[in-house]
C-alpha cells in the first residue's frame, strides 16, 4: 500500500509540477544567465559573462533607488488609506447592507475593471479640456490643479489606486464583521456598552487577523504596481511615478539594457521573498 501511494501522489502532482517547470523553470535559469551577463537585443542568444557588473550598475543607479523608494512609499500609503477607508465603510454600512446586499455589488465595480483601463479612464477624467473633474472644479471653485505635474502626480496616483482598491479591503472587513457572533454584540449592548466602545474593545480586536491580512495584501499590490500608473502617466515627470515594475520595464524595453533589467528583477524578487518570509513568520507566530 505504501509505495503504491507514493507513486499515486507523484502522478497526481505531475500535471501541475510539469506545467510549472516548463513555464518557470527555464525562465529562472535564463534570469540567472542574463543577470550575470552582458547582452544586447541584436544578439539575444550570445550573452557574455560579466560577473556582478549588472548588479553593481543597478546599485549605482539613482533612478533604481528612486523607484524602490517610490514603490515602498506608494505601497505603504495606499495600503493604509485603503484599509482605513474600507474598514470604516464596512463597519458603518453593515446595518444597511444586511438589508440591501446589492450595495456590495455597486461598491466592488472598480475592482472588476482592469487597472490598465482605470489608468486610461483617469486620463479622460483629469484632462483639462474634456475631463469632468477639472470642469466641475472650475465651475465651483474657479480653479483646477494640474493633476499630473511633478508636484501633484504622486497624490493623484495614490488617490486613483486607493479609490480602485478600497473595495477589496471593504469586502474583507465586511466578511469579518458579519462573522462576529450576534450574541456577542447583544450581550455587550445589554451591559450598556456604547457603539464606539464596542468597536474598539470587541469588534476591532476580533477583526485583527483580517486587518493584518488586508494591509499585507494591499501593500504587496501597491508595491508591485504597474498598469494603473503606466497607462495614466508612464514613468511620470522626471521619473516621479516610476515604480520598481516600471523601472525594470523601461530599462528592458526602452533602453535595451537586458542584463541590468534582469539584475534589478532578481533584486526585486529577493526583496519580495524576504518581505513574504518575514510577514508569514509574523503571522504564524500570532496565529
Amino acid at each position: 500500500m505504501k509505495p503504491n501511494r507514493t507513486v499515486e501522489n507523484a502522478v497526481l502532482a505531475s500535471p501541475m509540477v510539469l506545467f510549472l517547470l516548463a513555464m518557470l523553470g527555464f525562465p529562472v535559469i535564463l534570469s540567472l544567465v542574463y543577470g550575470f551577463s552582458e547582452t544586447r537585443f541584436e544578439a539575444l542568444t550570445s550573452p557574455t559573462f560579466n560577473g556582478l557588473d549588472n548588479f553593481r550598475q543597478v546599485m549605482a543607479d539613482t533612478s533604481f533607488w528612486q523607484a524602490a523608494w517610490f514603490s515602498l512609499r506608494f505601497g505603504v500609503i495606499t495600503a493604509i488609506l485603503q484599509c482605513t477607508l474600507g474598514l470604516f465603510l464596512a463597519v458603518y454600512l453593515a446595518p444597511l447592507i444586511r438589508r440591501h446586499s446589492w450595495m456590495v455589488a455597486v461598491l466592488i465595480i472598480p475592482m472588476v475593471v482592469a487597472p490598465a483601463m482605470i489608468g486610461l479612464m483617469y486620463r479622460l477624467v483629469l484632462h483639462e479640456f474634456v475631463g469632468p473633474l477639472p470642469h466641475y472644479l472650475f465651475q465651483w471653485f474657479g480653479a483646477s490643479p494640474a493633476f499630473l505635474n511633478g508636484a501633484n502626480v504622486f497624490k493623484t496616483v495614490v488617490v486613483a489606486e486607493t479609490l480602485q482598491w478600497t473595495p477589496f479591503a471593504f469586502v474583507l472587513f465586511l466578511t469579518a464583521y458579519q462573522a462576529i457572533p450576534t450574541e456577542m454584540r447583544e450581550a455587550a449592548t445589554v451591559d450598556g456598552t456604547r457603539p464606539w466602545r464596542m468597536f474598539w474593545k470587541i469588534e476591532l480586536p476580533l477583526m485583527m487577523p483580517t486587518l493584518f491580512a488586508a494591509v499585507f495584501v494591499r501593500f504587496i499590490d501597491g508595491f508591485r504596481v504597474f498598469d494603473t500608473i503606466y497607462t495614466l502617466v508612464g514613468p511620470g515627470p522626471g521619473g516621479a511615478t516610476t515604480s520598481m515594475s516600471i523601472y525594470i520595464y523601461e530599462t528592458f524595453l526602452r533602453r535595451g539594457e537586458i542584463g541590468k533589467a534582469m539584475a534589478a528583477a532578481i533584486l526585486l524578487f529577493l526583496s519580495a521573498f524576504l518581505v513574504l518570509a518575514v510577514a508569514q513568520h509574523l503571522l504564524r507566530r500570532r496565529g
Binding site: E8, V11, L12, A13, P15, M16, F19, L20, M23, P27, L30, S31, Y34, Y92, L93, L96, S101, V104, A105, V106, L107, I108, I109, P110, V112, V113, A114, P115, A116, M117, L120, M121, L124, V125, H127, F129, V130, G131, P132, L133, P134, H135, Y136, L163, F168, V171, L172, T175, P209, A213, F226, Y230, T231, S245, Y249, I258, A265, L268, F269, L276
Partner: protein, 275 residues
Amino acid sequence: MKLHNSLRWLVFLLAAFAMNFPVIATVATAFKGPGEVTKNPSLWVQAPTLDNFITVFTVSDRLNIFAYLWNSAVAAMIGSILPIIVAFPIAWAMSRRSYGRAVMFPLIVNIRALPLIIFAIPLYMVYSATGLLDTRVGLGLILAIVNLPLTLMLLVNAISDIPIELEEAARVDGARLPRMLMRVVLPLCRPAFVTTFVFGFITGWNEFLFGLMLTTREAVPMTVGASFFFASSGGGVQWGVAAAVMVVAALPPLLLGLIMYRRLSGSMVAGAVKG
C-alpha cells in the same frame, strides 16, 4: 435612528460615486458626439449618440477591435481553464493526504505575491526562442501561471468541504482512485470550478503587463488594444471614441463580476486570509 440611516445612505452614495467616478465619466463621454465632447465636459449628456460605438466597431485594420476582443477571450479562457485542469488532481492529494502541504502549497501560493515583471523578461526571451511570442496561446499560458495560486487554494478548500464519507462509500464499492476522482469528487467540485473560472477569466481579461510585453500585432489583448486608441493619430485623441473603446473593453468582466459578485467576494476573502 432615522437620521443615522439617512447618513448611512449618504455615505454609501458618496463612496459609490467617488469610487466609480472614472467609470461613470467614461460611460457619459462614450455617448457624447464629437462636438459635445469638447464643449460639454460635464457628466450630463445633452445629445446622446451611438456614433462612437459605431466608429469603434468599424475602424481600420490598424485598430481591429474584434481581433483584440477575440485575443483576450481566447487567452483568458486558456488562462482560467488550464490551471483548473492541472491543479485539480494535486488539490485532492493536498486536501485529503496533506501531500505537498508543507513546501509545494506555500511556494505556489506565494507566486501570487510576486511582481509580475519578474517573470515577464525571462519569458520574453523564452517566447522569442520558441515562437510563442505574440501568440494567444503564449499569452494564455502565462495567464494560467498568474491564476494558478488562487485556483489551487480555492480547489483545496472546495475538496476539503466535501464529506469524506462520499469518497469512502465509492471506495468500498470498489472504485479505484481515478474513477472515484472523476465520478465523485469532480461533479461535487463543479460550483468551485465555476467560481475559479470566473475569477480567472476576469483576472486574465484584465491583465495588461504581459499583453504589453509579449504581444506586438497578432495577439494583442483588449487592454493593450484600448491603449492604442489613446495614441493620437494626427488630430489628437478622439475622446468619445476612446471612451467607447473602454466601455467595450470593461464590459465582459463587469457583467461577469456583477452576476457573480457574491461568489467573487467569498473567494477573495479565502484568497487573502489563507494566503
